[in-house]
């Protein structure tokens, strides 16, 4: 077994009404996903502004994923539609600046989709692990 196996730090912004409950369900059903996924609960996926994502990277995240209700199911009617547009624009910009596109993702996970939550996280962690450490959006001062 390797001693210094690289484990990415993932920040997952989860909407309170669907995805956070989905994460809960994943836990209750004992579905495994890596412990390095740090969940931050937000009232709605559209609460996540670009600054949150950039700051997560600054503070050492290797990947950031935003999970919200499925389009059409937003607790606030339309929040996730805005998320969809905003993140499309932001992710495209990050890509434009040469930041690896696999480090950011938006997924729709409902409260009933514990399995999807775990699978999504596993897949995301795997992709980010393959990329390695976040070097392009890092703040050296925040490295331990």
């Amino acid at each position: 077994m390797q001693v210094n196996e690289y484990k990415p730090l993932i920040v997952a912004f989860c909407c309170n009404w669907c995805s956070y409950a989905g994460a809960d369900l994943a836990g209750n059903n004992r579905l495994a996903y890596p412990a390095d996924v740090k969940i931050i609960r937000v009232p709605c996926s559209c609460r996540v502004n670009p600054m949150f994502i950039l700051r997560a990277f600054q503070r050492g995240a290797d990947g950031v994923i935003i999970c919200g209700c499925h389009p059409g199911d937003c607790h606030y009617t339309s929040g996730n539609y805005y998320t969809r547009r905003r993140m499309a624009a932001l992710f495209s910009m990050l890509d434009f600046l040469g930041i690896e596109r696999e480090r950011t993702r938006v997924e729709w996970v409902s409260a009933a989709e514990g399995a999807k939550f775990a699978a999504t996280m596993n897949d995301f962690v795997e992709k980010v692990t393959a990329l390695g450490e976040n070097k392009r959006l890092e703040d050296l001062r925040c490295k331990k």
């Binding site: 950039l54 805005y82 969809r84 547009r85 992710f91 910009m93 890509d95 600046l97 040469g98 938006v106």
Partner: protein, 332 residues
């Protein structure tokens, strides 16, 4: 190179001042040299005759000044707007940044403005005077015995080379034609960068943004940046930072700056014009414009007053963030 002259503008302004349509005029004030004009308020015909200039170096976009100047002027303020400025004007009106009733807009034609850096690149330092006649500019310098004649097209500012529209979209009166929206190649450079590998793009931006000195000129000159208090000036925001302490800070500032005006940016190019370090900031804005056009349909901020910006709008059929790249990859 400009078709309209200083005299015509002064005549128009004097007439409007004299018949009390307006009580002050926002125009270009004479500088030390032939290229360093300053946006200035003129209150009388005498002041206009003494200090008003109009030349190929009158590039500043006056729209944003109206936020402060319209409120400060007692009566109406006369403002001369070039076609590209009128887009910013509409956008600011859409955002209720000033009172339309306080402003009298005279739309003026624009043949493209010159970039003094390009003039200096050709003629060198020590410019004593710059004259303009037809398509030629005559530059006298300290170091050339004879004046140097240059092609005005050669020194056009980047944003004018890629002019998107000669059409005035807001005015009370026009000097010259209303003009038309024109075809431009303004997205070519963005497309060129998109075609690079991520590593190349990263290297490109790392090089450009590393020059940033965080003077905030791009933000302060931007007609779309009109927040009363910017998040980067707010000590409680957690991101207030006066210096580009490292490459992350540089990126954070420029991503957020461009993002915050995404969908509202009219592509006037002021950000790149004012940047003391010549960072092509307009490319970030154009990237957003290009993406928005591609993802959600053609949209030109400021084309009409009262438009809803694409990022505060949605349809149920929008593409997923993940599809952004699938789409581009399949195009390639």
């Amino acid at each position: 190179m400009q078709k309209i002259t200083r005299e015509q503008l002064i005549e128009k302004a004097s007439a409007l001042l004299s018949n009390s349509t307006v009580s002050c005029v926002l125009g270009w004030g004479m500088g030390e040299f032939d290229y360093d004009v300053t946006p200035t308020t003129f209150n009388s015909v005498e002041e206009l005759e003494k200090g008003f200039v109009f030349s190929d170096f009158c590039g500043a976009n006056f729209s944003k000044y109206l936020v402060k100047k319209a409120a400060a002027c007692e009566g109406k303020i006369l403002v001369f707007l070039k076609p590209c400025d009128t887009y910013s004007f509409n956008q600011l009106l859409t955002e209720h940044r000033f009172d339309r009733e306080k402003v009298y807009v005279v739309g003026i034609p624009c043949e493209g403005m010159a970039d003094i850096n390009k003039v200096k690149a050709i003629c060198g330092e020590g410019i004593l005077s710059i004259g303009s006649k037809g398509d030629k500019m005559t530059v006298t310098t300290l170091y050339d015995d004879e004046p140097v004649s240059i092609d005005a097209k050669e020194v056009l500012a980047e944003r004018c080379l890629n002019c998107k529209s000669k059409k005035h979209v807001a005015f009370d009166e026009l000097l010259g034609d209303e003009g038309d929206v024109i075809e431009s190649n303004r997205f070519d450079e963005v497309a060129r960068l998109e075609a690079m590998t991520p590593d190349e793009r990263f290297a490109f931006w790392q090089n450009e943004l590393s020059r940033c000195i965080r003077c905030n000129a791009c933000r302060d000159a931007c007609p779309a940046c009109t927040c009363e208090k910017c998040v980067f000036d707010n000590p409680n925001s957690g991101v207030e930072n006066k210096s580009p302490a490292n490459s992350f800070e540089e990126k954070l500032f420029h991503i957020i700056r461009a993002y915050h005006v995404a969908g509202r940016c009219t592509d006037c190019g002021e950000c790149s014009r004012v940047c003391p370090q010549n960072i092509p900031l307009h490319l970030l804005n154009r990237k957003f414009i290009k993406d928005i056009n591609e993802f959600y349909g053609e949209y030109q901020a400021g084309a009409e007053e009262g438009q809803r910006a694409p990022l505060v709008d949605y349809t149920t059929e929008d593409l997923e963030p993940g599809e952004v790249f699938d789409r581009r990859d399949s195009d390639a």
